[in-house]
């Protein structure tokens, strides 16, 4: 528990390989997450959040691969670990939950068994003990009547209940890091709030760090202490959650902030339209020269179209990549 971070990503590049050529889908991505910390990764769909998460747990598969950089978990470089060592980390010390609670559970296996499997797999428990722990795990995610629910099949549960089961599975072995990739996107708004609250509380109790991934800046900033904003495969700004609303430095981040519905002032006006960022995320194969955001950026000048901006460390803490940052 010295100063070493739990997760350290350094200059990560993810290549998309076509036969002989390859293009970088993610490039120059660096961030660190300390033990028990909550860290968010935000950006529009297609900007490379999910593949970054897969890279962290060593599950990128062709045509994607890690092109450069290092990922260190608890001081050990993930790429250097054997397949068996990586498997022993996954689900055990690094867990992950996804967007689709509908499909992430095995339809022909009772949910209790799917939870119990984690104890058998990672902790070598026998099935009797594992089944008992599964009931406890289900109780801990506030599923009512867990001793009966363990026998249910996924189709017997609502979307919210299934996501609770997924959380129970993910947290079963007491991981150090929980990666949540759009964990509530498929759920109703009311259920969303419950699930997020549950996830946050459980992780806080157990000292589990969270890497929360979403296109929804509001959601991420609400859960996380620090937020990194990703655009077209690069991190363009990283700030404390409060700063990002009060004083976002990057035009893209400002666009995300402006597109959020706000309680209070603006909501009171009722009819104020939310401002969307014009245009779409470019495809990996035609990222523009210079700053990748330049075709959509109101502040863009000539230098933006030719030269990639360097990282600027802000006095207030955090970093930004923009020639004309605020």
């Amino acid at each position: 528990m010295t100063g070493s971070p739990l997760l350290e990503v350094e200059d990560l590049r993810i290549d998309l390989n076509y036969r002989s050529s390859h293009v970088a889908a993610v490039e120059g991505v660096s961030f660190r997450i300390d033990r028990g910390e909550t860290f968010g990764l935000v950006g529009e769909s297609g900007c490379g959040k999910s593949i970054t998460a897969l890279a962290l747990i060593g599950l990128l598969r062709q045509p994607l691969s890690i092109g450069a950089g290092a990922i260190r978990f608890d001081g050990r470089e993930i790429q250097r670990l054997s397949a068996a060592e990586q498997r022993a980390l996954r689900g055990n010390r690094i867990a992950m939950i996804f967007q689709e609670p509908m499909t992430a559970l095995n339809p022909v296996s009772p949910v209790g068994r799917q939870i119990a499997e984690m104890f058998v797999l990672h902790q070598g428990k026998d099935w009797r003990e594992a089944n008992r722990l599964a009931v406890e795990a289900l109780a801990s995610v506030r599923v009512p009547a867990p001793e009966r629910r363990v026998k249910d099949y996924p189709h017997q549960l609502s979307g919210g209940m299934r996501q609770r089961v997924m959380i129970a599975i993910a947290l079963a072995c007491g991981p150090d890091l929980l990666i949540a990739d759009e964990p509530t996107t498929a759920l109703d708004v009311t259920v969303q709030a419950e699930i997020i609250e549950l996830m946050r509380n459980l992780c806080a109790e157990r000292g589990t760090a969270i890497l929360m991934i979403s296109h929804d800046l509001g959601l991420v900033a609400n859960v996380c202490r620090r937020v990194a904003v990703m655009y077209a495969g690069r991190i363009v700004e990283e700030r404390g959650s409060d700063d990002i609303f009060r004083a976002s430095a990057h035009p893209y981040t400002q666009g995300l902030v402006d597109s959020l519905p706000r309680l209070g002032s603006r909501a009171a006006l009722g009819r104020t339209r939310l401002t969307e960022i014009a245009g779409v995320v470019p495809a990996i194969t035609d990222f523009p020269d210079g700053c990748r955001f330049n075709p959509r950026c109101a502040r863009a000048t000539d230098i933006c179209r030719t030269t990639e901006p360097e990282t600027t460390w802000l006095d207030a803490g955090g970093l930004v990549r923009c020639h004309h940052h605020a």
Binding site: I57, R87, R90, N92, A95, M96, T103, N106, M118, A170
Partner: protein, 273 residues
Amino acid sequence: MKLGANLVIGGALFALAIFVGLLAPWLAHTDPVMDANLLNAEEPPSWIWWFGTDAQGRDIYSRVVHGARISLTVGIVSQLVNSVIGVTLGLTAGYWGGWWDDFVNGLTNLMLAIPSLIFALAIMAVLGPGLTSLLIALGLTNWSFTCRIARASTLSLKSQGYVQAARVLGYGDFRIMITQLLPNMVGPIIVIGTLGMGGAILAEAALSFLGLGVRPPYPSWGSMLSEARDQITTAPWLSIFPGLAIFLTVLGLNLLGDGLRDILDPQSRSRRT
């Protein structure tokens, strides 16, 4: 869920065959092999000899009842071997892909190109007649359909969220195959297996008829047909009853297979709706 007529009738016929096979020693009136008595040779069916007697005076009813054991053993055991081979090859080929997939595909196509009965005949010719050879020959030659189904199921299941999730949770390849893939393909595998059992019983009859299967005096339905060949006009009951037993059992298995397909195989279910 409404049970189809196929399922009920097929299930009843197959259950009857199993029942007869299991209780053969108690259901039979005489010993199927030893109780020969030339004094009552070739008796037609009567109250005493329900299905008549053969040229050596053995009770056809008792022989058909005991024959159920052999036919069902051949059907069940050989199909089990086929299913295990087919699922193992198809699942691993679909999951791992690459050269192993190419190899399994090539082997499957080869098996499909050669009629399995011809293949089994060749194996029997090498191993010689007998029950064990029969089980080996039929067990090794009819896994290609199962293999194809297992491979195709694996390919479509592989991209399912719960298979991806299992990988993320640290499951190894074998655990994924056993817990995530296999249970989700049992439906079609059972359907193919049921139909295959019927096929194996027919194949046993054919091989035994050709003198390559179960050897007389032990009664299998096929070997009984084989022995009855010469008396088909003079003593038709010698062939009618074993033939009927084969017909009803295979019909039962086919109906059962179709009935199971309706409830177990999601593809045919979606095709109908």
